[in-house]
């Protein structure tokens, strides 16, 4: 197992998923984690290798589940929009939604469930308020397509985009508290914490936000 540690970290870096490393950093050692939309299990692997967590996943695609099971990860095929109701209260220390909230049908309900099932909820998402997105819509009048948002409007699984400001407004409405927030700029580097939320919303490409009730 030890030899896989640098491996999963290096893989996350190579895949341009510095957000995964940030998420992992927010998680305490030896805790219990549920990762929603866990894909091929990169974050679960990373958490198991570097934080010794008891990591579980929920993934909608057969391929993703097979990849995870083959890696020895505990993953359930299912849909975050419908299946979270079955989990008991406070079953996990952290429930993570990494780059998936924009693909859920009912983001608010998913967040409610996350805060019920877990002591903390960690959400990472692409910021639709980023200046390039604004430029694409505002100047060119087109829906943005980029490396981060690679789909055309008619085929995207992403149906509920939000900006960092939108997200924080929802958090306030839900009576949840932001415990930590990290915003990554275009190069994947965390912006300095002193930056105003206006700057975050304009220059941040991704946000990683930890919530609690």
């Amino acid at each position: 197992m030890m030899d896989q540690r640098p491996n999963s970290v290096a893989q996350a870096k190579a895949a341009g998923r510095s957000d995964l490393l940030l998420v992992a950093d927010m998680v305490d050692h030896d805790s219990r984690v549920l990762d929603l939309g866990c894909g091929d299990g990169a974050l679960l692997r990373l958490l198991a290798d570097t934080r010794n967590v008891d990591a579980r996943g929920l993934e909608i695609s057969q391929r993703g589940v097979n990849d995870c099971v083959a890696k020895g990860l505990s993953v359930i095929q299912g849909d975050a929009d419908t299946d979270l109701a079955d989990y008991p209260d406070d079953a996990f220390d952290y429930v993570i939604l990494s780059q998936t909230i924009q693909a859920t049908r009912h983001p608010r309900l998913v967040l409610e469930q996350m805060l019920r099932i877990g002591r903390r909820a960690i959400v990472s998402f692409p910021n639709f308020g980023h200046w390039k997105v604004r430029l694409e819509i505002g100047v060119h009048g087109r829906m943005p397509v980029s490396g981060n948002l690679p789909f055309s409007w008619y085929e995207t699984p992403n149906i509920h985009f939000c900006t960092i400001r939108d997200f924080l407004t929802l958090v306030t409405e839900m009576d949840a508290k932001v415990e930590r927030a990290i915003v990554l700029d275009q190069s994947g580097t965390p912006m300095r914490t002193g930056a105003s939320s206006w700057m975050w919303n304009l220059l941040g490409e991704q946000a990683v936000i930890m919530l609690r009730r």
Partner: protein
Amino acid sequence: MHTASLNGHRSEADAPTSLVVTFPADRPLITDAGGTVSPLTVAYQTYGTLNADRSNAILVCHALTGDQHVANVHPVTGKPGWWRAMVGPGKPIDTDRFFVICSNVVGGCLGSTGPASINPATSKVFGLDLPVITIRDMVRAQSMLIDHLGIDTLFCVAGGSMGGMQVLQWAALYPDRVFSAMPIATGARHSSQNIAFHEVGRQAIMADPDWRAGRYLEEGTRPEKGLSVARMAAHITYLSDQALHAKFGRKLQDRAAPTFSFDADFQIESYLRYQGRSFVERFDANSYLYMTRAMDYFDLAADYGGSLAQAFKGTRTRFCVASFTSDWLFPTSASRAIVHALNAGSASVSFVEIETDKGHDAFLLDIPDLLATSHGFITAMARARGLA
């Protein structure tokens, strides 16, 4: 041919062509129904080699009409083992790496004590004198076999359908003896609809005049018509409408036009009649009554105050649950109920719903997604167990 197969069948019940262990009278099986099976005989097969620290044993549990011949040529039918897709050299349950055990369940008819066995107390066939057997009784008998083989903890217990019920029962009854578990296409209880189908089958058998109130083996008759009808009805539930339609549609059998009679005009009719006939060759009607009853009575949550989660509370067994989209006997919802209970009990569980039109029978077939999932799970579990 008829008599030959009958005789062949009898000898498999009394003197099976597999390994056999008989537990003496001081080691009886006390059944859930309050009966005693003693001496208890368990017929079984093994494949591969038990390692030095006895940590690489996989117990395979068979389904309703299966038996211990999981990965070898069947002594009665001459066909390959029933789980040849899953068990064998290089297969997901790799007999080159693991010591694989499969026993004929108690109540069966291929050598373990069942209604077709000779009752040593009377020197006659048991018939219905055998106490009603439950899934838990089957598992208790298997645990006696596992003890006999000197194995403390099973690396994995795997099985589909009724075999999956045994897997769940094993995990609930002996959590410390099951490192990992693969219940496939199964449920933690038999549904009302499933009990209903089984009752149709049992009534067909018992309505056959040749059944003779269960004493047909002594009277030299066999309720072949009844058993065949039972199998036909059950067989439909193992398939899916889609698969049946793709295979048979409304195609006619060996004729250009319907005969307007009650012959087997349609191919599906011939197919079912064939399935019924060939089943009669290898299976005992009373055993079918016992097996179906065992499944009907299975309700794991009921044994734990109505809470399935309680059955698995605090378990360290790692589970891999699989269901099939077109299975209407044990639909995905039945597997999800298991997964939810395991989640609520904080168990380590993986779950896949595999897309296929093959229906319930898919667990027996060469379904790539099932084999890939199983292979991945077992390989990962072997690493976790230090067997890699």
